[in-house]
Subunit: 223 residues, 2 copies
Amino acid sequence: MDSLLSNLKITVPEKLYVKDPESSDLGKRIVQHSILLIDEIGFDGFTFKKLGTKIGSNESSVYRYFESKHNLLLYLSSWYWAWIEYQLVFETHSLNPNEKLEKAIEIVTRTIKEDSKFSHVNEVILNKIMIKENSKSFLTNQVDQENKDGYFIIYKRIVHRLRDMIKAINPKYIYPSSLASTILEGSLHQHFLKAHFTTITDCNDKLTPTDFIKNLVLNTLKA
Amino acid sequence: MDSLLSNLKITVPEKLYVKDPESSDLGKRIVQHSILLIDEIGFDGFTFKKLGTKIGSNESSVYRYFESKHNLLLYLSSWYWAWIEYQLVFETHSLNPNEKLEKAIEIVTRTIKEDSKFSHVNEVILNKIMIKENSKSFLTNQVDQENKDGYFIIYKRIVHRLRDMIKAINPKYIYPSSLASTILEGSLHQHFLKAHFTTITDCNDKLTPTDFIKNLVLNTLKA
DNA sequence: TCTATTATAATAGTATTACTTTTATATTTG
DNA sequence: CAAATATAAAAGTAATACTATTATAATAGA
């Protein structure tokens, strides 16, 4: 698995960057350290200037790779979901419908615990960022234009894959897309609550968001 | 109902404002027009200066009511959930457990279609704002401190009310809090998708987020 | 090897933001 | 009517989110 992924280049929509950050050392350091810095100080406090200082480079150089910090977040988000999608496709490949959906839920809802080390991207921390910052990538006034421009295509493709798995199990269920999108957002939200609002979630280290979502989805489709 | 609410003052945590906006004409205009302006240009584009211009007042005067635009959002969010909570309590008052949860889901997930006109707050537009901006009130680096300070108490109380209703129906279900929090966030999210990402939701004007969530919750508790 | 191209860094500058402070002028209250 | 309070106006500040210009370094092609 790891070796398979190590040979794959994660592909994100080209419009998300000015210059492909994978194409140079500086670009990779920008991505690598933006993940660490956003985790440290939050996306709202994050600036290209601070990032420049951190990587011993200049603010203006960062702008040669990303048009804005918002686009950098969109890039990180797309990268994350593309990485999840690869796992989704490979790890569920030969399973029957029930096993497949269950495995898929595990993949998209689990806490990432190991940095796969095949790249400059620390997936453990990127996962943390997604829990806290992902919704900021689409809760904007530009969402419709950016959606038209294909900025969210990978995320939507994952929802569609989940939707199809749901349909395969219960073709009569009339909310397959809504259930699929709830799996993704609901999971991120439960992870957030587990970290910051423990009184309004049952999730903890023993009873995970994965357990909750699995129970929710499988019972819903059974009924 | 309407007349009942018209006599009630919505109470939000005092720390959220510097001076109670309900205590003066200017305060009310600040709240009233901040709702309209945030809806118009989004919370990110919203500034006290623009608001001042809009209400024929000054930026510095707005600061006498709210410490920051973030606190204003927290205020609006608390106001909204307090308003929802009143409806929740009154409208489900005398119902049996099953009817009660069903009615509660309707109340917290429905699209607000009528401005009740009992105040300076336009609930239809405030509901729209909550769909797009509510998560920004807690997805910050200050969330733990603000949570400690009681800024999210009303929201959490609603989740607890829903949790108790869930428990009353199925005491064996082990995720009552997570399900309750999913009702609230999941509903807002489906409303957002319905408006901006129609390909990853089944919700539309005929099949509403309420229908989806009801189906999800009731099937889950039945199983 | 020289030259041209490209990448990066440094510097400065801009409009705006999210405030704070000070002062002036209304308005309300005792 | 004076004192207190509320509001408005103006100016200032540090930081943000960029853009533009120029200088320097690295690399690649003839």
